[in-house]
Amino acid sequence: MEKRRTNEILLFQKRKLVFTAAAAVVILLYGMASFVTEYDTLLGLSSFPKAFKWIIVNMVPNAKALERLPNILKKLTETALLSVAVTVCAAICAFFFALLGSKTTRVNPVLAGSVRVVAAFFRNVPDVVWAILLMFSFGQNVLTGFFAMFLTTFGLLTRTFIETIDEVSNDCVEALHAAGANYMQTVFQGILPSSISEVITWILFMIETNIRSSTLIGILTGTGIGYLFDLYYKRLDYPSASLVVMSIVILVILLETISGGIRKVIL
């Protein structure tokens, strides 16, 4: 009884010690980071209420902004369709790539290894680099954003699909092989059906992510909804810029709701 009590006390002491050490590390990291970036915490924290005040005063759509609504909606539709098209194309390519890279379905180990390296490369090179690189040849074109997002989405989805296929396919691949199915039959009758709900969940998630990153790439390359925001923002036409922000918010929340509903049914 006595021993158990001391053990309990030790547990609490250890917990306290770990928390204190963790807090010290975090504070140290914070201090170092704010020194390096010349970040002023007080200024930073006071920027929040200032920004809210400014948003409430300036970022209210007015009649002039509403006149621009058709144009904003046109660009918004373009951005939404772009994200869907990019994600679907990237997902189809990534699925076949993932088949070559997964442990259970690979054709040969060297190819599988190189697939993983290629995917890691496309995933880790920032989309900013792709956007600038494509911008040189494609110019202010919708295809610049398309390919920039395609490459990063492709890299990310290849990795996730490899994991998904590894997870779902162990049993069914073996069973189908034993029943004499060939490679294509195994893929289309075994792996695809058992991983499709996971794949669709990821596609829906990436469509949302890509709408956000297409805004960023739009600002960099002068296309789509990002360009429109940048234009109004630089002209100091904040009411119109706020209308752009709100339209993006509504689109993203709408998508989130739809994909949440779909996820509930399919999972």
Binding site: Y30, Y39, G44, V129, S137, G139, I196
Partner: protein, 289 residues
């Protein structure tokens, strides 16, 4: 007796015949019908349809596609095969990389701190339902606005620089982490909280003795994930919103010097840093578990 057996048999065979679904050519369908199967098919068809529609409605501005692809491949070859610094020194690149890293650290720590308290208000099992609903609405809004727009909005009041970048990144991180933390709090066993409440523990005692210990590993996993996102976002903010760090170098090399080789060097530096961060994060996560 015989009659009723025959009747039963015919009823049975009738039932089976009705249950078998056949295709137009008379083959027997073997798949089961289910709501989820239908939803999957419908989602796939809609997504494919939208993609086709997208390719037909894009404004391609009569671009010379083959030429542009060739040009891009040539540029990519220069970028990746011959990286060379001309405008910045390797030390400066390392320094800028470190600045970006610190922007990521700052926004993750601030975001996590805000998110911890936000999540306590947001989690359905410990908060008041009305407060929870309000916070969930605010969080959904904050997350829906792309990070770069937050940074640009903060830049108006705080000026371009680290304050705007950190505030913008923090804002979006907090929105993301509140949702993640609240979900991990909601997953915990309500019995523990009830037992502590019954023995007279106060709110903060419940938080630090029950909620934090049981959900800390989930929270840490989400925080590390967010740090990786913040690091890449900080690169993008440097390029798109002039927030400093390696992204700004990338932007200058691309848009002002048109120097692909400098971009190549910077890209390799970034990729190396990201890979190292991933390895470090995996190691730390394994230790925490």
């Amino acid at each position: 007796m015989n009659e009723s057996a025959a009747a039963q048999k015919s009823a049975l065979s009738f039932d089976i015949q009705r249950q078998i679904r056949k295709t137009a050519t008379g083959k027997i369908k073997t798949g089961a019908v289910s709501k989820s199967g239908f939803a999957i098919k419908a989602t796939m068809l809609v997504l494919l349809g939208l993609s086709v529609l997208a390719f037909f409605t894009f404004d391609y501005k009569d671009i010379d596609f083959a030429g542009a692809v060739q040009g891009t491949l040539r540029n990519a070859a220069t970028l990746f095969a011959a990286p060379k610094l001309k405008y910045a020194s390797p030390g400066a690149v390392l320094n800028q990389l470190f600045v970006t890293f610190c922007l990521g650290i700052l926004s993750t720590i601030l975001g996590a701190a805000i998110a911890f308290f936000g999540a306590l208000l947001c989690a359905g099992n410990i908060s008041n339902p009305r407060v929870s609903a309000v916070i969930k609405g605010i969080v959904a809004f904050v997350r829906a606005v792309p990070t770069v727009l937050w940074v640009l909005i903060f830049a108006v009041t705080a000026g371009l620089g680290s304050v705007a970048a950190v505030s913008g990144l923090t804002f979006h991180s907090a929105g993301y982490l509140i949702k993640a933390y609240a979900e991990s709090i909601e997953e915990m066993d309500y019995g523990t909280i009830e037992a502590l409440k019954a023995s007279g523990a106060g709110f903060w005692q419940i938080v630090f003795q029950a909620i934090l210990p049981s959900s800390i590993s989930y929270m840490l996993a989400w925080t590390f994930l967010r740090f990786e996102i913040n690091f890449t976002n900080a690169i993008a903010m440097g390029a798109a919103a002039g927030a400093g760090g390696i992204g700004y170098n990338l932007f200058m090399a691309g848009y002002f010097y048109f120097d692909l080789r400098e971009m190549g060097y910077l890209t390799y530096a970034i990729v190396l840093a990201v890979v190292l961060l991933e390895i470090a994060a995996t190691k730390i996560k394994a230790k925490v578990k």
